[in-house]
Structure formats: C-alpha cells, structure tokens
C-alpha cells in the first residue's frame, strides 16, 4: 500500500470549497456522478498503515450495484474503483497457495490478466465513525500496463477478502454534492 499522509488529520469539520468539491472531499451520504450515473457514498473506511500514513475507501452504491472507491495520495492522488470478489474466484491454484502458505502468491492470473504483486503492507482498518480497528495485511497487485488492480486483504490466518478493479482519473468523479451536516 502506498505511503501518504493526506488523511492523517482527523476531520472534525468540513473544509471544502463549494465552488470546487473534489473527490478528496467525499464523505458519507455524498452523491456524485461517474460514467453519467449517480452514485451515493454509503460508508467510509479508513486504513492506517503506520507512520501517520492513511488511505480511505468509500463504499458506493448505484441502485443495487455496490463498488469501492479507494483513494491513495502518494505524492499524487491515485483513485481506484473496485468490485469485491470471492477469493475462490481467483482460482484453485491461488486459493491452494494461500491456504498452504498463509499468504498469496507473487503473481495471479485472473480473467486472462496477469497481476504482479506490487506491495505488501500490514495495517489497521475501521469504518470512520466506529471505534474498533481490525488488523490486516494488504497484498496489492497491478497489471503490466498499471491500469488494473487486484487486492487481497488478510484479516486472520484463514480470512481473506479480494477485490479487482481499475485506476480511474480523479476527474471521472464529478458533480459531487455534499450531505447536509447533522
């Protein structure tokens, strides 16, 4: 997981410029457009990678479709849009490797695309308005063209979650509308 400290400050009040609300300003209940469709942020998760480095993930919903928008500022902002997938969808070879070695392999081929392990990072995560942190190790993969991403998160010896997605331009998230503060 990349290093960045953009989200390290606890935000107690909003600070966006209403004339220019960006993806960095997103919060729970916000509405935005992506691919000419309306999406609503239904949950916000914070990841603490140590050394005051944080990333943030938004659960977003469009009707019955749920996706995950991950923001990472490692000098420049990287926005990834992902779908959660069952770990078994990665194939027998990968799942066998994971359960034998208690960690994923360095290369994964999924739906014809070869992903390479880019980074392994231990950290903690929690929903932003909750108190309890969960420990995890994140294995981030990227394809040869550095456009598609795959991520496996390990929460315990036998608990793994996977997601697959793509890097999208920041500008593809637009018409962001804030939720009224309570």
């Amino acid at each position: 997981m990349g290093i960045f400290n953009f989200f390290k400050k606890k935000e107690t009040e909003r600070h966006f410029d209403p004339t220019n609300i960006t993806v960095r300003d997103l919060g729970k209940g916000y509405i935005f457009e992506y691919n000419t469709e309306n999406w609503t942020v239904t949950a916000v998760f914070e990841y603490d990678w140590g050394g005051n480095y944080f990333t943030r993930e938004f659960t977003i919903q469009n009707g019955e479709i749920i996706k995950y928008l991950h923001l990472e500022d490692d000098g420049g902002l990287t926005v990834t849009l992902s779908d959660k997938i069952k770990i078994r969808k990665l194939g027998e070879e990968v799942t066998d490797f994971i359960y034998e070695k208690q960690k994923p392999p360095k290369k994964i081929i999924f739906e014809g695309i070869k992903y390479f392990l880019d980074e392994k990072a231990p950290g903690y995560t929690k929903e932003i308005d909750q108190e309890t942190w969960a420990e995890l190790v994140s294995y981030d993969y990227i394809d040869e063209d550095e456009e598609k991403v795959l991520s496996i998160e390990q929460y315990s010896d036998e608990s793994f979650e996977a997601s697959v997605g793509q890097i999208i331009p920041e500008s593809s998230i637009y018409n962001i509308l804030p939720k009224e503060e309570n």
Binding site: P18, Y30, N38, G63, P178, K179
Partner: protein
C-alpha cells in the same frame, strides 16, 4: 519623540487612513463572497437531498417494474399450466387473476414513482440552475475582488509617488534630508557660537594670567645675571 518619528507617524497615519478607505469595499466583497459560498453550500446540500429522493424514486420504479413483470410472467405461466392440464382451470383462473391484481397494484406503484421521478427531476433541474447561477456570481465577485485589490495597490503606489514628486510628502526621503540638512546647519552654527564664546572666555583668562604671571620676570632676572657673569653688561 523626535520630529522625524513624529513626521513619519503623521505620514503613516495618513497613508493608513487612505488605505482604510480603499479597504472597505475589499472587506465587503470578501464577506459577500463568504456569504455566497455559504449559500452555495446550502444549495448543494438541498440539491443532494432532492437528488437522493430522485435516486430512491428511480430505484423504486425499477423494483416495482420488475415486480409487475414478474406477476405478468406468473399469470402467463399459470395459464400455460392450465393449457397443459397441469392445473385445474378454475384454480388457474383464480391464481392468474390474483397475480394480475398484484400486477396492477404494483403498476400503480410504478405510476406513482414515475410521477415522483418527474417531480424530483424538475426540482433537481431547478436547483441545478440556481447552483449554476450562484457559481457564476461567485466567480464574478472573485474576479472583481482581484481587480479591486490590484487597483488599491496601484492607487497607493501612485499616490505615494505623486506625493514625493510634488515634494509635499512629509515622510519623503528628500524632505527628510532637507530637514536633516537644516538641523545640521543649526547644530554647526550653534557649535560655532559656543566656540566663539569659548575663545572669548579663554582670552580674558590669558590676560589675567599674563598680569599675574611671574615666569617672564624671573627669566629677565636670570638673563641679566648671566650677562653679568660673562662680563657683557
């Protein structure tokens, strides 16, 4: 407080007064922009609320449409079963009728959500126009503010330059140098006067010393004695 400091303060006060007069519209514009941004935030929040209702209505509409389609299919399947003698005609008709009643109930919900979608779409469009208008005004004000600030800078610089050129700026360097020159001349004149007085006082003392001095008399006596010793006198 010396005169230069006083003069400088007078000049500074005058300049501040002039700038204050110019700053009022700047502060007013800045406050106006802050107020408009507050209004824009509220408008965006309102738009978000209406858009959320629009999204919910659109989702409801899709769900009710799916249910309508489902009851339609069920009614058809029931009739097909009757046709295939897999179900008694009486039961088939009753169940198919029930399915069609359910279909109609949900069709009513579809019609309701269509109206809601229409209503919320109109509200959304109206609010989007308001938001757009506010954005344009804020942008206009921000540009005017930039221009105003630049004009204040230019006005102040021009004013100071003109004052210096006219030689009426009490805090100008030229004026201060002139005043310093006068001051130095005054000091020099005063020093000269003290010098004259000092010289005058010294001459009186010298005369007194001269009168009272015995050194010269003693020397004359010594000279006469030496001449006598040498047989010259």
């Amino acid at each position: 407080m010396n005169i230069f400091k006083r003069l400088f303060n007078v000049g500074k006060a005058e300049a501040n007064s002039a700038i204050d007069k110019m700053e009022d519209p700047i502060k007013m514009t800045e406050q106006g922009i802050r107020d408009m941004k507050g209004d824009l935030t509220k408008a965006l929040e309102g738009l978000a609320q209406v858009k959320a209702m629009l999204i919910r209505s659109q989702n409801d509409k899709k769900q009710f449409e799916a249910i309508v389609k489902d009851y339609q299919n069920k009614a058809m399947l029931i009739l097909q079963k009757v046709q295939k003698n897999e179900l008694p005609a009486e039961d088939g008709d009753r169940l198919a009728k029930e399915a069609l009643v359910k279909k109609e109930e949900n069709q009513a919900q579809v019609n309701r959500t269509i109206m809601e979608v229409e209503k919320f779409s109109q509200s959304t469009s109206q609010l989007e126009r308001n938001v757009s208008s506010l954005r344009v005004n804020i942008s206009k004000w921000e540009n005017e503010l930039k221009t105003l600030k630049a004009r204040v800078k230019v006005a102040n610089a021009t004013k100071n330059l003109n004052k210096q050129m006219a030689g009426i700026d009490s805090s100008s360097t030229v004026n201060m140098l002139e005043k310093m020159k006068e001051k130095v001349e005054e000091e020099e004149a005063l020093a000269g006067a003290y010098g004259d007085i000092a010289n005058e006082a010294k001459s009186v003392d010298d005369e007194i010393d001269k009168v009272l001095d015995t050194t010269s008399l003693s020397a004359n006596n010594d000279l006469e004695a030496l001449k006598r010793q040498m047989g010259l006198s």
